[in-house]
């Protein structure tokens, strides 16, 4: 939530560059949605189709991260691409659906079995357990040596980050989304030169919500059910139990959704 008047905002930089940045759900001056009511500036409020559930609409922010990760800031993908998605959590599955819906062939790399099952259910062409096979050889096999042309890091895992440089093909677009801030991760950075990689990241956009709603609508028209991504629902009154599950069952709790009993 950018101020619009600081030097960086006036320079047209991303909202995350704002020198007075607020962030809904992370600071007292910009409260989030874990309450019966919230107050927020209308510029951050977007109408969704009437036939969506609130739980569907609560996926817009998450989906926008994976979608923007591929399409934001000049990114693109099409049916000529081989996308490799590292990590199939909520953002990874969003990036995966974005790539698939855009026509690319999609490979998902995910060590957890239940998350590989999610990837398969939501349309991945190939899923790889990097703990069971030689990841690079498997990608070579699947792609006939071409490797990935769009490689999305959506896990924040050190091994995944390091392997980006091994599975990215020549001239690949490498898009970083997963959190790794505060950690130094050894990578073979020289492959950026040898393979002419284009590596980019982006934190925070405020102009992708409308587009995300349209993209999700297109997916829903194709039969995608966002509701079944929510493995756990808790009424707001059980928020402590909800956090307990989200903290302790990270591999099983794909998405924990708080509900408030508001008529749909």
């Amino acid at each position: 939530m950018a101020c619009g008047v600081c030097r960086n905002c006036k320079d047209g930089l991303m909202p995350s560059a704002c020198l007075n940045m607020r962030e809904a759900g992370f600071r007292p001056d910009s409260p989030g949605g874990m309450g019966e009511y919230m107050v927020i500036e209308e510029q951050y409020v977007h109408k969704v189709p009437d036939n969506w559930t609130y739980a569907d609409a609560a996926w817009v922010e998450t989906f926008s991260i994976g979608y923007f990760g591929i399409w934001g800031n000049g990114g693109y993908i099409d049916a000529s691409d081989i996308a490799i998605i590292m990590g199939c959590g909520p953002v990874g599955v969003s990036a995966m659906m974005t790539a698939k819906m855009s026509g690319a062939k999609v490979i998902v790399v995910e060590p957890f079995e239940k998350r590989r099952a999610v990837a398969e259910k939501y349309g991945a062409d190939y899923v790889i357990d990097p703990t069971a096979v030689d990841l690079v050889k498997e990608v070579e096999r699947i792609t006939d040596g071409r490797m990935g042309t769009v490689v999305v890091e959506a896990s924040g895992n050190n091994n995944a980050i390091a392997s980006l440089f091994d599975v990215a093909g020549h001239s690949a677009r490498v898009r970083l989304i997963g959190h790794s801030i505060g950690r130094k991760v050894p990578v073979e950075i020289g492959k950026t030169i040898w393979r002419t990689l284009s590596i980019s990241g982006s934190g925070g956009t405020k102009n992708f919500a409308q587009r995300t709603i349209r993209f999700m609508s297109a997916l829903k028209e194709k039969g995608v059910d966002f509701g079944t991504l929510n493995t756990h629902y808790y009424p707001f009154g059980q928020i402590h139990e909800a956090f307990d599950v989200a903290c302790k069952l990270k591999a099983d709790a794909f998405k924990v959704m708080l509900t408030f009993g508001v008529e749909e």
């Binding site: 989030g32 874990m34 019966e36 919230m38 107050v39 927020i40 209308e42 989200a246 408030f260």
Partner: protein
């Protein structure tokens, strides 16, 4: 109007409090929350593993994966959409 709202005071210290909902300022809307996802970053903040959640100026209300119904807007706000019965998210 009072509402039950969650506040993170420090890691693992999440309290649901019955508080007065702040009056709307210009260009703000009141949203009745219908659903809110718990993100991995919410978990990281809850567990004190991330600096994104600002405990230095806490308490704060978490939740960036929210959706709800827009129930009211400040009288002085300029609006392009009807204020009521529109599901909303950000």
């Amino acid at each position: 109007m009072k509402a039950k709202i969650a506040f993170l005071h420090k890691p693992f210290d999440l309290r649901v409090e019955d508080v007065e909902v702040p009056a709307l300022k210009e260009n703000q809307v009141l949203v009745q929350v219908g659903a809110c996802g718990i993100c991995g970053s919410d978990v990281e903040c809850f567990e004190g593993k991330s600096k994104e959640g600002r405990y230095d100026i806490a308490p704060y209300t978490p939740g960036h994966e929210w959706a709800g119904a827009s129930r009211a807007s400040a009288p002085a706000s300029r609006r392009s959409n009807p204020a009521t019965k529109s599901r909303a998210t950000a």
